[in-house]
C-alpha cells in the first residue's frame, strides 16, 4: 500500500456539509430580513439593529460558516495533512452555530445584550482558529498558501476582538474611539480576512480547475506585502484620523489586488483546459468585480469624494460581488466534490462512476448566477437613487434566488 492511501486526508463528510447547510439557511434568512427592512436600505441606513442582524447573518452565518466548512475539506487536501481533531470540529460547529444565531438575534432585538451572544461566537471561532493552527503545524512544507491563510487568520482574530469590543461598549459604554474600532473591524473582516483567504485558495484552486502548467505566480509575494501594509496604514489612518495615510493605504490595497489579478490572468493563459466550468468562471468574474471596486475606491479617495451613503454601498458591493460571488461559484465545485468523494470515491476502478460535473446542474447555476448579478446591481442602483419599490423588487429577486440556490445545492447530495 502506498503511504498516502494508508494515511487518508479526507474529512468526515458530515462535518463540512453541516457547516455548509447551516450557512445556506442563514443566507436565505439574511435576504429575508433585508427584504422586510428594505426601507432602511433605501434610506441608506445600514447601522440599524435589524440591518446589523441581517448583515451578521450574512457575514458570519453564511460566509464564515461556508468558509469554515470549506476549510475543513480543503485544508487537509491542499496542505496534505489531516484535520487535527474531527471531534473538536463537531463541538466547534455547534458552539459557533448557536453563537451566531444568538448574537444575530440579540443584535436585532436586544442590542444592549448582544455582547452575551458575541462571547459565544468568539468561543466558537477561537476553537476553529485553534483547530486550524494545530492542523497547519503538522504541515511540513510551508508555501505561499500558508502565508495568505496565516495572514487571513490573524486578521480574523483581530476582527472578532474588535467586534467583541464594539458589542461590549454598546452594553456597558466605554471611552475609546468607537468609530475607529468599527472601521478597523469592517476593514479587517472584509478586506483582511475574506480577501486574503480567497487570494490564498485561488492560487491553489485556479490552476487545479483550469489544469494550468508552467505559471510563475511572480506577483504573489508583492500582493501579500502590499495588501498587508495597506491594511496597516488604513488602520493607522482610522486611529490618527490622517487622510493622506488613508489614500496611500487604499492605493497599496489596489496594488496588492492588481498583482493577484495579474497572476490569475497568467495562470489562466497557461491553462490546458480550454472550456472552463461555468460556476468556476463566476468565481473568476468575481475577481474582476473586486478589482473594479478597489479601483473605484482609489479614484474616489483621490477626488476627495465624501458621501457616506455611497461608501456604504461600495462596502456592500465588495462583500456581495467579490466575496460572496467567489463563494457562490466555488461552492458549486466544492459540494459536488464532497458528495462525490463520499459516495463514489471507493467505487472508482470497480464500477463506472459519474464525473464531477454530472453532479450539478450547470445550466441552472448560470441562471442563478445571472440573477444574483442582476439583483445586486439593481439593488445598488435603486438604493443609491432611493427608489423604494425598486429596492423591494430587487431584494425580492435576491431572496428568491437564494432559496433556489439552496435547493440546487441540496439536490447535489441527493444524487
Amino acid at each position: 500500500m502506498s503511504g498516502l492511501t494508508a494515511n487518508k486526508t479526507e474529512t468526515n463528510v458530515k462535518l463540512p456539509l453541516s457547516f455548509i447547510f447551516l450557512g445556506l439557511v442563514s443566507f436565505v434568512l439574511s435576504q429575508w430580513i433585508f427584504l422586510i427592512h428594505s426601507d432602511a436600505l433605501t434610506n441608506g441606513i445600514f447601522r440599524l439593529p435589524q440591518i446589523l442582524m441581517g448583515a451578521h447573518l450574512l457575514l458570519l452565518g453564511w460566509i464564515v460558516m461556508i468558509i469554515m466548512g470549506a476549510m475543513y475539506q480543503l485544508v487537509p487536501v491542499a496542505f496534505l495533512t489531516p484535520i487535527w481533531s474531527e471531534k473538536l470540529g463537531f463541538v466547534q460547529l455547534i458552539v459557533t452555530g448557536v453563537g451566531i444565531g444568538l448574537f444575530s438575534f440579540l443584535l436585532g432585538f436586544n442590542i444592549s445584550h448582544a455582547v452575551y451572544g458575541a462571547v459565544v461566537v468568539i468561543v466558537g471561532i477561537l476553537l476553529f482558529l485553534f483547530q486550524i493552527l494545530m492542523t497547519l503545524k503538522k504541515q511540513e512544507e510551508k508555501n505561499v498558501l500558508t502565508l495568505f491563510v496565516g495572514g487571513a487568520l490573524v486578521c480574523f482574530l483581530i476582527t472578532i476582538i474588535a467586534g467583541l469590543t464594539l458589542a461590549w461598549s454598546i452594553a456597558f459604554g466605554s471611552s475609546f474611539n468607537y468609530t475607529a474600532t468599527l472601521h478597523s473591524h469592517i476593514l479587517l473582516g472584509v478586506a483582511g480576512w475574506f480577501t486574503l483567504l480567497i487570494f490564498g485558495f485561488s492560487y491553489k484552486l485556479v490552476p487545479m480547475f483550469s489544469l494550468s502548467h508552467g505559471f510563475k505566480m511572480r506577483g504573489s509575494k508583492l500582493a501579500f506585502i502590499s495588501y498587508i501594509v495597506g491594511l496597516l496604514l488604513l488602520i493607522l489612518s482610522f486611529w490618527l484620523d490622517h487622510s493622506s495615510l488613508s489614500t496611500l493605504g487604499w492605493i497599496l490595497l489596489w496594488v496588492g489586488f492588481s498583482c493577484f489579478t495579474l497572476d490569475i490572468l497568467e495562470i489562466l493563459k497557461k491553462r490546458l483546459k480550454k472550456r472552463l466550468d461555468r460556476p468556476f468562471m463566476f468565481s473568476l468574474i468575481a475577481i474582476g468585480f473586486g478589482w473594479l471596486i478597489h479601483t473605484a475606491v482609489v479614484v474616489l479617495r483621490l477626488v476627495h469624494f465624501q458621501d457616506e451613503r455611497i461608501w456604504s454601498w461600495l462596502v456592500f458591493l465588495y462583500i456581495i460581488c467579490w466575496v460572496m460571488f467567489s463563494i457562490l461559484g466555488y461552492l458549486y465545485k466544492i459540494v459536488p466534490f464532497l458528495w462525490w468523494t463520499y459516495k463514489y470515491s471507493s467505487q472508482v476502478g470497480k464500477i463506472s462512476v459519474p464525473l464531477l460535473k454530472d453532479m450539478v446542474n450547470e445550466k441552472l447555476g448560470v441562471t442563478l448566477f445571472s440573477l444574483f448579478t442582476f439583483g445586486t446591481f439593481g439593488l445598488t442602483i435603486s438604493g443609491v437613487l432611493q427608489m423604494d419599490i425598486a429596492v423591494q423588487l430587487f431584494q425580492a429577486i435576491m431572496l428568491a434566488t437564494s432559496i433556489a440556490y439552496l435547493i440546487s445545492i441540496v439536490q447535489v447530495i441527493r444524487k
Binding site: K204, V348, L355
Partner: protein, 98 residues
C-alpha cells in the same frame, strides 16, 4: 491476454472525475511491473500535488487492479518526481481538453 496487458487495460478504466479523462492517457502512470508471483507494482503521479482527488484516484488504481482474479499483491507508489507535465499526455487526452 497476459496479466501485464490486463492490468494495463484495467488502468484505462480509472477516470479522473474532474477532467473526464483516463489516467493512462493523462500520462499519470510512470511505470508498471508484474513479477513472477503476479504481484503488481505501479508508479504514478497526479497532475498537482495536493490534488483533492488524490485518495480517490490512488484508491481507484488499487481497486481496478485487485479486480483481476490472478493478481497477487498490489503496490501503488505515488511520486512527485519527475513532476507531471502536459507533454506526458497523449494526443487523445489533449484533444479532450479542447
Amino acid at each position: 491476454m497476459s496479466l501485464y496487458e490486463q492490468v494495463k487495460e484495467a488502468l484505462y478504466t480509472v477516470i479522473d472525475p474532474e477532467l473526464g479523462i483516463n489516467i493512462v492517457d493523462l500520462g499519470l502512470i510512470y511505470n508498471m511491473e508484474v513479477n513472477d508471483n503476479n504481484d503488481v507494482k505501479v508508479t504514478m503521479t497526479l497532475t498537482t500535488p495536493g490534488c483533492p482527488l488524490h485518495d480517490s484516484i490512488v484508491g481507484g488504481v488499487e481497486s481496478a487492479i485487485y479486480f483481476l482474479d490472478e493478481v497477487g499483491k498490489v503496490d501503488v507508489q505515488l511520486v512527485w518526481q519527475p513532476a507531471w507535465s502536459p507533454e506526458k499526455m497523449t494526443d487523445k487526452a489533449r484533444a479532450m481538453l479542447y
